[in-house]
Point group: C2
Chain length 402, copies 2
Amino acid sequence: MLIVKKFGGSSVADKERIFHVAARCIEDYKAGHDVIVVLSAMGKTTDGLLAQAADINPNASKRELDMLLATGEQICVSLMAMAMSSLGVPAISLNAFQVQMHTTSAYGNSRLLRIDSERIRHELESHKIVIVTGFQGVNKREDYTTLGRGGSDTTAVALAAALHADACEIYTDVEGVYTADPRVVPDAKKLSEITYDEMLEFSSLGAKVLHNRSVEMAKRYGVQLVVRSSLSREEGTIVKENAQMEGMLVSGVAADKNTARISVIGVRNEPGIAFKIFRCLSNKNISVDIILQSIGREGTKDISFTVARTDLKEALAALEAGRDSFTAQEITHEENVAKVSIVGAGMESNSGIAAKMFEALYNANINIKMIGTAEIRITVLIDEADVVRAMRAVHDAFDLSE
Amino acid sequence: MLIVKKFGGSSVADKERIFHVAARCIEDYKAGHDVIVVLSAMGKTTDGLLAQAADINPNASKRELDMLLATGEQICVSLMAMAMSSLGVPAISLNAFQVQMHTTSAYGNSRLLRIDSERIRHELESHKIVIVTGFQGVNKREDYTTLGRGGSDTTAVALAAALHADACEIYTDVEGVYTADPRVVPDAKKLSEITYDEMLEFSSLGAKVLHNRSVEMAKRYGVQLVVRSSLSREEGTIVKENAQMEGMLVSGVAADKNTARISVIGVRNEPGIAFKIFRCLSNKNISVDIILQSIGREGTKDISFTVARTDLKEALAALEAGRDSFTAQEITHEENVAKVSIVGAGMESNSGIAAKMFEALYNANINIKMIGTAEIRITVLIDEADVVRAMRAVHDAFDLSE
């Protein structure tokens, strides 16, 4: 069997953890498997390098930042190879140039295009554990690129796809994907399986278990993922196309506090107004989530939407600048709000799920400010102060507890 | 003009020094020159990485060590590019993969074979300062190699040769090559010019101004070098084929305390004995310097030689192991010795130079233990305690002072 195992920065933060990961990979190797290990930079290395760069040039080019950051993973993979060979197992580290990890041209947030797997196959055939730098790639100019934060997950999936691996295991500091954040909902249950689409919804909702692109890529190439803890022996959660949801309509509840509401009030009721408003934001690369349009006073209309709270200031400035073009009477905003969502592949074929969620919130006396729905997700915007009660109420209503 | 400028680790040890070097390179750029900058890793980075490796695996493979060490220069070149662009000058950093710095296969102490200068030319044509990682290369397996300590000098010379640079400047923390170490001989004089061969003798004598291989390569390809200080505006020393020695017979005096004497006493006076002794040492990669053979008692002979003091223990063990094969009666050694040498291209055509050196030492009441000569060098082995007096006496005898 060919197994790809990916470990994040905190799993390899120091010597002890490096040896812990090494031992874990060696188990599979000794059981007769081919093993590819994908690693991020150790602990806070990447942040440290970024701080060093910012000290020298706060506006450093992304090209040079990628050149700098790529060293973080290279240090980690070479130390891991040393650790494994000190444990008596042949291992070799490879960087993005050596595995020809081709990406798009963009620096800082590149996308993988293809991998030349020849070198890796050669090393596997000589019975080595192959340790590959995550996060980094090489573009057609022969420059380093990076895949954005969390990009090592994508590296792992891409390698699993390119080499037709039998398993792709993503190790994190949680034991898998839960029906809700266990710190908020103590009786949340670990899911044994989940579909790609559900995982994507969870990822975009701020449950930062997997990098979104890695799930998209896994779905596209049919790579079955396992999310599990590097600290325990628990089974973890399998992410695949047709997950068995054990009759569950909803697979989990997620909250996202990085949100804020903006309302553009009293715009003229004529074509093109929404376009003009959202163009202001897309020009600044600001993403908009739930959108709600209502009839206002005197033939005008109001348009409300949510943005990431971290984008609020820039969004307000952009709207203020374009205000004349869409004839707004007023622009208001609200910061202390949060999104609570339910996600479930079973939703598509079942009616009444939204009603059940709203009923649970009503019973808990929680006011819903906005509602947004997607194919397998329902999201409500509520007061931030109500988040914990809302999550528990909804979690209970759908019988998600253990 | 195309200028290659090389700065060592101490010249780029922190932010301030990086900006100092950046400003210095930008001067040449603004004067209309094409500029290639070769950098070592910052300050003690390489030592730090080696310590990290040793902590994980004291017997780490050289292949993985090179993979690890290569990150040191990459960090430095990317930060330098950021510093230059913050000063408003376009700059780009390139590593050994990007400049296709091909070397022999050996890890840890590789030799440069050829450079693909296309990428560099392209970047120079787009009016960028090109900053290249020193010390590292890539072998035919597409693995990182390193050129051994001080290898960045060689990188600079190789680039100057491959790109037909008009100047190759090696920046160090001294102002050039002196007639003697100014800390030992206070009135030592800076040489304005020196030949490649003299420089090679000085390098091998422990005057660590230039990496030996870089001088050999400069000689082979006729690259004129300038050794100068990164801290001052002084002219420095030019290293070239036909240096003007201003009528000097001797260009300098050097001392080397990393030496020890070994005597193999009472070996049979028959063919093959010397071969057997030195084979023991060459098998362990131990280099031997001055060799002296004398007739011992009862038809036996004694063979004495010097080795680096750091190799003494291993040399004695190797000789002890092979002792039977060369029938030695006794093996003695002496640690507190040092070599003092005079170097000068003018020596070849002038007799009486050795006599003058010995006379100076005699007048200073210094005992000579062994004598070794080469084409442009005369070396004596003396008590370590006599080194300072010996150097000053010889320096005076040849009128080398300012």
